[in-house]
Symmetry: C2
Subunit: 331 residues, 2 copies
DNA sequence: AACGTGGCATGCAACGTTGCAAGTGGCGGT
DNA sequence: ACCGCCACTTGCAACGTTGCATGCCACGTT
């Protein structure tokens, strides 16, 4: 068995309480007692028992990240930043995948897999606002993305409307006139997709251009590929696609290139998320780059701040990362 | 506060112990008592306290995944499978990043970030065999990859020598004669890289071809890109590169294409890991596809199996996934 | 009627930690 | 010499759960 406070106390000839005081840095311990206890602590390699501390103090040191899937590059990158930031604050990150299933999202929101966590960071996919109601003694929760929770919960997001408008406007400025949007989720209450669609429509309306919206089931490469095949099969004469994720964009670009289209000469492709894949794609992918570290920090700040307050909406910075996939149509 | 066994017991007019018996499915409970207690359980929305169970039973329900970084696609995909498989077995996955730092790897091996876990799944990058010694009451640990632990620990890996030989042989069979290897780690005791290098050398030796080995700092896209720039700058006349990860390969392919090389006509590129990026790259990337689900299952099987036994070495299946990036040189 | 049996229910203790309040001893001031 | 204060130390209790041992009751058997 691992050494407990009691073992250390017995060996150092002091009470359990005093050892606890040394461990926790309580100031009222005589220097020589502290030193003696410390020596025994080192000798026995004492490590505090997390379960007992949790039971006693109510703090588990765990934060749950509830996302559709960790294998998706965007969530992977985000999880990396979250794990780093969480560690700086004395938390460990725990990953729970929902697979985008509403039922499972609800389930994990209630009690995170039976684990008692100090907080939840949730990126919902298919949850309706009603699902997001929290009990009074539930762990604090931060939403990623703009799921409409009726102002009941902390949010962290970028300004998706503005970002989508910027991408679309950029495409227009490079001379494209038939710009499709790949990614709407008409059958889900997915507020993030709705906002991006909104920005896309605004930019098109401003320029007096027609739009074409291609719904997809998920935001994977395969969905982007399917959408592009659909566009090509329909003989749609698009000269640009704005995809709601880099994964969609990479899938779409792949199919476009396979079909002999030149990117960007024949078709401009833009994505969203700025995942590393896009930077090294051929051609490199124009995308919206959210400040992922900023998102991670803001989310953890929300969980750190236990003060009673109104739920806040944190808007994190983003910028348009222009790369070769949308270079001006001047071959 | 959340309802406890005591609350339920008081309300149902039975003892705490009886409620516990109902919750845990102990058979000796009268049907009507069970029903009454169950009703109160539902009414109060009782959820077992994880901390108390952990303290009492010694089981936390947590598994730690210790990896260089979760943002890396290979680890992201693997983590996804591990999280799924872990959940099936009643475990929750916790992510700890080492950043490839040997010191931090050691630290996390000892006590995983202060969390008491039921097991560790570790993918070491820079650890020496000596670092891997475990105390008698440490949590069970499984190594991913072929870190040489002197047979002291459970391993899960694919046959890296064979896989590297297959890739190299495949490149030779498509007519390539100047095949570089990108990825060796000469300054680290990274057994996985060593095995792949071994397989590469074997295949070349068998064919009587010369080799060229390009060491890299890490396995990222940027490292692959740097390696390719180096090869080009040195005027090396290579007609194929075998990269020790898909990330390296994608970085290398990116630079090659930027420099006007045609892939695969001028240069064949092969990777390792079969991450999704490679499948949708332009051109799609030939790679070694390890059975990632198999790796996840084998790792968790090791942790599940608490029986005293000799450390085992599990070799998981792999296959060569041939795609356009290494198509025969017949333009 | 006494006894044994088996089904069911319960009280106690312990897991390792920390908040609380009380205890101890020495020292300086009156 | 006595008191009070302060620095330091300590025992008790409790967090919520479950293993163990025991208690209780009804019923069937002798």
């Amino acid at each position: 068995m691992a050494a407990t406070l009691r073992d250390v106390a017995a060996r150092a000839g002091v009470s359990v309480r005093t050892v606890s005081n040394v461990v926790s840095g309580f100031p009222l311990v005589a220097p020589q007692t502290r030193e003696r206890v410390q020596r025994v602590l080192d000798e026995l390699g004492y490590r505090p028992n997390a379960a007992a501390r949790h039971l006693r103090g109510g703090r588990s040191g765990l934060i749950a990240l509830v996302i559709p899937e960790i294998a998706s590059p965007y969530f992977g990158e985000l999880a990396g930043h979250l794990a780093d930031e969480a560690e700086k604050r004395g938390w460990t990150l725990l990953v729970q995948q929902t697979g985008g299933d509403a039922h499972r999202e609800r389930e994990l929101l209630g009690g995170a897999g039976g684990q008692a966590v100090d907080g939840l960071i949730v990126s919902p996919w298919a949850l309706s606002p009603a699902d997001l109601r929290r009990g009074p003694d539930a762990a604090p929760l931060v939403l990623l993305g703009e799921q409409d929770a009726g102002g009941l919960l902390d949010h962290v997001a970028i300004d998706n409307v503005a970002a989508a408008r910027e991408v679309t406007t950029h495409l227009i400025q490079t001379g494209r006139t038939r710009i499709a949007a790949v990614g709407p989720q008409p059958h889900l209450s997915n507020a993030t997709a709705d906002r991006r669609l909104e920005g896309y429509r605004e930019a098109l309306a401003e320029a007096g251009l027609p739009g074409r919206e291609v719904p997809v089931a998920r935001l994977h490469r395969a969905d982007g590929a399917a959408a592009m095949r659909e566009l090509i099969a329909a003989g749609a004469e698009v000269d640009a696609v704005f995809c709601f994720s880099d994964q969609l964009a990479l899938g779409a670009m792949h199919v476009a290139v396979q079909h002999g289209l030149r990117v960007p000469a024949d078709l401009a492709v833009a994505g969203f998320d700025d995942v590393e894949d896009g930077r090294y794609a051929n051609p490199p992918l124009t995308t919206v780059a959210p400040d992922k570290v900023g998102i991670a920090r803001a989310a953890l700040d929300c969980l750190d701040d236990r003060s009673p307050r109104e739920p806040a909406r944190h808007i994190v910075a983003h910028h348009l990362e222009i790369r070769a996939s949308t270079a001006a149509d001047t071959v």
